[in-house]
């Protein structure tokens, strides 16, 4: 069947085709692995989550308590923040990165239609993660005589549409408030903030209460909100259970947000897009004084790498996200150090070491593999090995600067544990950097989120390496001699991964 060219459905089919090709752009064994995961994960979740849940619901009936209502509202609220995070990132991408809007806005198709279709596509992308994980258990519930819970799926998609509407409004608001030049960075940073809001909320709660709870984050935040939650909170649980009135009300309210946002911002988005595309480059405008040149290769490469990371509105929020995850663990470590609670402290040290490993891996990929001008370096007389060492230093040095912010206060209250954090995070950062150096995955910085993975065994070894070093650091901070075992194992894994230097 041929769709009428230029129609909403035709545009939607075009967007979905592009999205499908982007998602399935993997080859060989990875394609099969992706297929197995796509089919296997819902089946696995249906068995592990759906079946026990169905048995419980059949035996005890659907929950009706106030606590259950709060948890349902908390789940939807957390889903909304995650979806808002993803939608805002996509809106910023649409404004600044993707070139196809130029083509669409130069065509006779009304801008409002273009934006509505793009927004539906963005919402679908935001929904797909939740839909993917929810589908298996919900189908299992339906097969076990509880089909009404399938109502969760349309609620989630309506939530994704509302989040996309909110992201459009937020993008427009930012352009109006701070201008197109700064919206790119602030939009990305807000996206990261929304993405990590729930995690940080639970960590703040842990810091405030002074202990790490085993309760799920949703339950803890729900309990925190219980004091001021409005009576209408119960509508979410009723909609999840498929009660028609609640379902209609909730979906209607969420769709209204989307409809209002696209109706108002759709026709104006073309102007925002034009403003974003013609925004003056950052750092421009005035002719600043020419600062003196640094001396030597190391200083020049370090300065260049740090500038490129700090000035990238796409990358910086991603890096900051990983740093943000380091902060609560660091604060907890200092608190436990002050309380001499070394068992709890070892958990915080383990978490910090793992995060240092992850952060160093990301930064090392950017500095080593995502070189924007490889031919410039290759045509210079600078030795390749030295260049790569300096790039590694830039990645590890940046991580250690952040780690030091937590390790130094910890060293004041617990000197031995402070030293362990420095050594553990240093080892984790260096090992992640070395793996990136030996197993390079050339790519563009703009493809950070979709960067090509290393061979599966390297990815696995990288993960195991990070865990082993983190375990060693955690045990060492509690003065366990057993720390030597994971440390030795980590060394063996690192040696096994070592690649001969390239010519």
């Amino acid at each position: 069947m041929r769709l009428p060219a230029g129609s909403t459905v035709w545009l939607l089919a075009h967007d979905l085709r592009l999205d499908w090709r982007r998602r399935t752009a993997v080859a060989g064994a990875r394609r099969w692995m992706a297929l197995v995961i796509t089919l296997g994960a819902p089946l696995f979740l249906a068995g592990v989550v759906g079946v026990p849940l169905g048995l419980a619901l059949n035996r005890f009936g659907a929950p009706t308590s106030w606590a259950a209502s709060l948890i349902a509202a908390g789940v939807l609220a957390s889903a909304f923040t995650f979806m808002l995070s993803q939608a805002l990132a996509e809106v910023v991408d649409a404004l600044y990165e993707r070139g196809d809007l130029d083509l669409m806005f130069s065509s006779p198709i009304p801008p409002r239609r273009v934006i509505t279709v793009r927004a539906i596509g963005i919402a679908f992308a935001a929904f797909s993660v939740f839909g993917f994980f929810a589908l298996g258990p919900l189908v299992a519930l339906a097969l076990m005589g509880q089909p009404r819970w399938l109502a969760i799926l349309p609620v989630l998609y309506a939530c994704a549409l509302a989040a996309t509407g909110a992201a459009l409004a937020l993008g427009a608001l930012l352009i109006g408030l701070v201008g197109p030049k700064r919206t790119r960075f602030i939009g990305r940073a807000l996206s990261v903030a929304f993405g990590s809001a729930f995690f940080l909320g639970t960590q703040v709660f842990a810091l405030m209460s002074g202990q790490i709870s085993r309760e799920p984050a949703v339950v803890r935040l729900s309990r925190l909100m219980a004091g001021w939650a409005p009576p209408s909170t119960g509508i979410v649980l009723r909609a999840f259970k498929g009660e028609p009135r609640a379902l209609l009300l909730l979906i209607g309210a969420l769709l209204a947000v989307f409809a209002l946002a696209t109706a108002w911002f759709g026709p104006r988005f073309a102007a925002f897009h034009a403003a974003a595309k013609s925004a003056p480059a950052a750092g421009g405008g005035r002719a600043a004084r020419a600062r003196p040149f640094r001396r030597g290769l190391t200083a020049a490469v370090l300065a260049k790498e740090l500038r490129l990371v700090l000035r990238d509105p796409m990358l910086l929020p991603q890096v900051l996200l990983r740093v943000v995850y380091l902060v609560p663990a660091g604060l907890l470590a200092v608190r436990y150090g002050r309380q001499m609670n070394f068992t709890a402290l070892s958990g915080a040290v383990l978490a910090m070491t793992l995060m240092a490993n992850q952060l160093a891996g990301s930064l090392a990929w950017m500095t080593i593999s995502a070189e924007d001008a490889p031919d410039l370096l290759a045509s210079s007389p600078a030795p390749r090995a030295r260049l790569q060492r300096v790039k590694l230093l830039a990645a590890v040095g940046t991580v250690m600067a952040f780690v030091a912010l937590a390790a130094i206060p910890l060293a004041v209250v617990a000197p031995y544990q402070g030293a362990v954090v420095l050594a553990g995070c240093g080892g984790a950062a260096v090992s992640a950097g070395l793996v990136n150096l030996w197993w390079q995955r050339p790519g563009k910085r703009s493809a950070f989120r979709e960067r090509a993975p290393a061979p599966w065994f390297v990815t696995l070894a990288e993960l195991v390496l990070g865990l082993l070093i983190a375990l060693a650091a955690g045990l060492a901070s509690a003065r366990h001699l057993a720390a030597l075992a994971p440390a030795a194992a980590a060394l063996l894994v690192l040696l096994a991964l070592r690649m001969p230097a390239r010519p």
């Binding site: 950052a282 002719a287 020049a300 001008a373 410039l376 290759a378």
Partner: protein, 249 residues
Amino acid sequence: MSGSGLTTVGLSKAFGPTAALAELSFHVRPGELYALLGANGAGKTTALRIIAGLLAPDAGSVEIFGVDALAEPARAKQLTAWVPDEPMLYERLTPWEHLEFIAGLWNLDPAEAQPRAEALLRRLGLWEVRSQRCGSFSRGMMQKTALAGALLHAPRLLLLDEPLTGLDARMAREVKDMLRELVAAGASLVLTTHILEVAERMADRIGILHRGRLLAEGSMEELQRRTQGAGTLEEVFLELTVQPAAAGP
């Protein structure tokens, strides 16, 4: 074989079954501008990339001002600058920071590199935008920034792949003047271009590549004599390259 300038002998390079270069030999004297011409895919860029040390040849040798570029690449690169048709720039660095980075790569003394950077940026009309990021530049401004970077270490051999792309008429003239000054100061210069009038007016000698082979080489007059009756370089080029193409491989 001369001990100075650029000398390539028997350079060959194949990519799979395709021969990109076949025994390319030519010499560029100090103070000479050599234009390497050829249709798309003739092997010009491959030749320049090998000379710049970015690609290893399958056979042959490259000597740059007496330095064996394959045996001592770092020493050869110290004498060489390469400006490809796509400028090698960092979009998020300013021209000043780009030159600072180049100075670090070539290990230049900041006391000497800094005034030279300022002079180059002023001459190329980039001084006023020295603190703007290169990502906001037009193609011509990017090309000029790349050229400033290439000239910062005062190279003795300059390799230019389509150097006038994107430049307006005034700046193209300025760049041509700069190149002539470099040549007058004793540098060897190899340029590739599709604008044959530029090669005709600027080059001391011209080499015509076809399917990886050097078909003809010489001054404009020598090439005209060889093609009997051809007036312009365009006519010379077409006559020399069409005949072998018609004859087939």
